[in-house]
Symmetry: C2
């Protein structure tokens, strides 16, 4: 008998659908799996954030990102005491977005031949980059021991329910 149309995967139009908790859960897991595979293959660390809109079913926070952020704060304290470096950032994502901006600005200055960078500024920038970089290394090293059974890759996820508290 012809089983087509009865069961098995059916094509889904990519538009907003509701109350498909099982399907959403599978896709969220799939997204995490793909991110982890990409990370394992390339060596890049991957983080992602889900912003949940309305009063949907639930909000979810993986323990992994909590751990990374806690460690980040802990190391921030130690670094500022020991090295007197600028450790003002309070969030891994923010710190690295900040670093990206600095790298970009630095590149632009280098490419602009009309403007020469003085050595003091250059040294300060490089110091800051080194500080951030060593902090990431420390975080990765510290977390590695806490995550049992698999190679540490920075796969993290945060889901927020934005409406939940204000209604």
């Amino acid at each position: 008998m012809d089983k087509r149309g009865e069961k098995g995967r059916q094509k889904i139009e990519m538009k907003l659908i509701e109350y498909r908790t099982v399907a959403f859960s599978k896709r969220k897991n799939g997204l995490g799996k793909k991110a982890k595979e990409y990370s394992n293959l390339t060596g890049e660390d991957v983080g992602f954030i889900l912003f949940k809109q309305a009063g949907k079913q639930h909000s979810y926070v993986s323990p992994c990102i909590e751990k990374v952020i806690d460690k980040f704060h802990e190391l921030k304290k130690n670094d500022s005491l020991q090295n007197h470096t600028d450790m003002s950032k309070t969030n891994v994502f923010e710190a690295f977005e900040d670093l990206r901006k600095e790298v970009q600005a630095f590149k632009e200055k280098c490419l602009d031949s009309k403007m020469s960078i003085d050595k003091h500024t250059l040294e300060n920038r490089l110091k800051k980059f080194e500080a951030y970089k060593s902090r990431l290394d420390k975080i990765k090293k510290e977390i590695k021991g806490d995550v049992p059974g698999e190679q540490f890759k920075f796969i993290s996820e945060v889901a927020l329910d934005l409406e939940e508290m204000s209604s």
Copy 2:
């Protein structure tokens, strides 16, 4: 003739491999596609970040996250002038991670029956949540008009080359 083993997809072990730029590019695109599909289906906004390690081939920044962050800064200025609200956060990811922490702390206080929350504190918290929420709404509204051809969903990506500047 038997074409198995000659071409077509082969199984790949999920460990670090190098110089597979084409394969990586395909997987990065796939990751973005999956994130966009998830976002379109659920209505949640999704952001992800790639932390690139060593001096690999390239670093990539999508224009989308730039636009969101620029808009965030622009609205921050306006909000603080017009509403005198606390708009100290300088980064979308940081702001929402911060919000998540506040929500969590608030929940814990509510569940702790030994501790009653005074109305003044409660009102201040709700005000702050409302301010963040309206800012996200504004960002989404503003960006929507700038992204041609598709429904706005917060799919953003940042790749960093951490080693590039310090070597």
